[in-house]
Symmetry: C2
Subunit: 387 residues, 2 copies
């Protein structure tokens, strides 16, 4: 793998994808098709209040399915929440698991599914390909526009003892069906609309420049960038259904890209930061992305024109450094559109923690696909410049 | 669905995809992962002579798998060949089915798999969603660059009694794994390299303009067009490995697009022609495509710029009729690159058959997604202008 070898081997795997406004009413038929009799619905209180949980429960009823609601999921889902969910799943004799929500609810659903067929503690499955038994049937329905968890082979769970994020990566972790109903964005608060779209942006950027990228992932990463450049700013201001749908679609394309091309330095650093401070994942990436891009640009020149073009520029005949500036400016505008904070200091990160954060990031699987080989010193430099 | 409703519901489903030079040696590990003990390998004599069947058999051996070779497949595979294969599959007690070849060998493998778990005659499964039991595990390895059968939910089998093509369409028909080793194109005779790449071209064009297209399929259709415009002509002339890989990749992207967006008038007409005359499928599409494009252009203006851009043009600020001409000219050059014949008369089609061919095409599932609603008279007009 690498930029000097465009003819690399590649893999591409995505679940069955269903996308469209109003389609939350098809969750029941999806669960039924997967053999469900008693569905375990994982969601959170915000979605219950917004009425989307009711919508899904009605769809399950219409399909003649029994179900149990588990809504004890908080943001950055914790190991003990997964265990509580798993105990409930077993006690209730449920089968198909449906996750409805942002990354937290969907990753919790994945965690419960992992324990559901593999037992043990969620910590046992940390890292790459540590899951050996297939998961119970899983339908994931994103209600934010960033996480990509609905198509990805990742689950990220907070270890409450070690105060770190456990990254679990395995083909088993992708759901059977990813069902996106963009209507759910209508009730997403501005803050989360912005921060999750920024998460999609960082997925698309890091997947596009990943050493494991191929045309199979590039077309999706580029489409995500194009949709974000076209509709993000207006979607936040006017919240028109068409623009919101573009954000949902961008998130889906970015998810398809990063689940197969994987990510890079920004996410490798964001994971330990999220573990230590319980910070908003989209915001952490927003703060890091510009400095990571500046760090990566010297080794990704071959793909720079495609990147700028996806963001809406015409880079033909323009000197590399100006194309880099154009692209960075658009990324900056998108971060502003999402009202992203600037500076790790503004996320509550303590300066004295930067060294240990850089050290922890060295272990993250996301570094394996960074276009630029890095070390602890360089990572610390990025953290300091982002502070 | 339709061009006036860009926010349509969409589905996207592709098998696990593995792509890369030299990867034919991983067929064994794929079959093993799917639970294989005794593999039924479906291929043809040409691939046996070229040494690729040996390569796959070695890979099966290396994985510790037993296997049976069934190489009695001809082009446009016939119902009786499928039945012979099925009988052999049962008699040998085989499990996983591996199809190695062009569309004929892969569709034969699909047909054998359909009978393997559903019994009956292959004619019983004609049409949409007529298959109710999941197929045996299936790995498909394309050795041409056009059919897309390795990712598609279609199988096309010749009915030797009715002298027509049976189109079978069902989510069950997609394989578990699509494995492409572009090295196999090295031994593909010029004629088939050209005609199969033209088939990929017609898949990409028809999928791009399909009423069931979405960004999920468009990105793949556009990438196929871009790769063909970039490398097709040179690949045929110089047969460099990089260019051949681009053709394999174009075929894969086009397959992902058309399996989900489906096709249009060109394929609806090509199926009865292929059934009646045993003609080369790529060549039939080549003859029809320009006239089908001229027929469709009035209703696809919204997507014309994207189409022209994918083919390498800059359509900004140019009048529609000139963009249409530019795009048609490039399509024409690609047809020339593949040394495609012109005129149905040169494929052995009899003028007195045109009316009945138009009538038969009216029943083809491909018409459901044509961007322009058509009738028998218009279809006959296209056939006459293509004669």
């Amino acid at each position: 793998m690498g930029f000097d070898n465009p003819n690399q081997h590649c893999k591409f795997e995505v679940p069955e994808i269903i996308f469209g406004r109003g389609l939350l009413n098809q969750v029941g038929s999806c669960a039924k098709r997967l053999g469900g009799k008693k569905v375990f619905l994982v969601s959170d209180e915000g979605l219950l209040r917004a009425g989307w949980v009711d919508r899904v429960m009605k769809s399950l009823q219409d399909a003649g399915l029994d179900f149990v609601l588990f809504d004890q999921v908080t943001s950055n889902p914790k190991d003990f929440e997964i265990e509580a969910g798993f105990n409930e799943y077993v006690a209730q004799g449920a089968d198909v698991i449906v996750g409805l929500g942002g990354g937290s609810a969907m990753d919790a659903a994945k965690g419960i599914a992992i324990l559901g067929s593999n037992g043990g503690r969620i910590q046992d499955y940390r890292g790459i390909d540590q899951i050996h038994r297939p998961l119970p049937p899983l339908v994931l329905c994103p209600t934010t526009c960033g996480t990509g968890s609905d198509v990805s082979q990742f689950a990220v769970i907070n270890d409450s003892t070690e105060k770190c994020k456990l990254t679990i990566m395995s083909r088993c972790v992708a759901p059977d069906i990813s069902l996106t109903d963009p209507d759910t964005l209508e009730t997403l608060p501005d803050e989360f609309l912005g921060s999750s779209a920024i998460d999609a942006l960082s997925h698309a950027v890091e997947a596009y420049f990943s050493v494991a990228a191929s045309t199979l992932t590039d077309v999706n990463a580029a489409q995500a960038l194009t949709l974000l450049a076209k509709s993000f700013s207006r979607a936040v201001k006017e919240r028109r259904a068409d623009d919101l749908e573009d954000l949902s679609r961008a998130s889906l394309h970015a998810g398809m890209a990063f689940s197969n091309a994987l990510l890079g330095i920004s996410h490798a650093l964001a994971h330990p930061i999220g573990g230590l401070y319980d910070a908003n994942h989209g915001h952490v990436n927003a703060v890091l992305l510009p400095e990571v891009l500046r760090y990566d640009f010297p080794v990704v020149e071959r793909k720079l024109a495609g990147f700028a073009a996806a963001l809406g520029h015409n880079p033909v005949g323009i000197e590399t450094k100006y194309v880099e500036e154009m692209a960075l400016e658009t990324v900056d505008q998108l971060l502003d559109a999402g009202n992203a904070p600037r500076g790790l200091r503004n996320l509550g990160v303590r300066e004295e923690d930067l060294s240990s954060l850089a050290a922890k990031a060295l272990d993250d699987v996301c570094l394996l696909t960074s276009p630029r080989q890095t070390d602890q010193e360089d990572l610390l430099g990025i953290l300091k410049r982002s502070y």
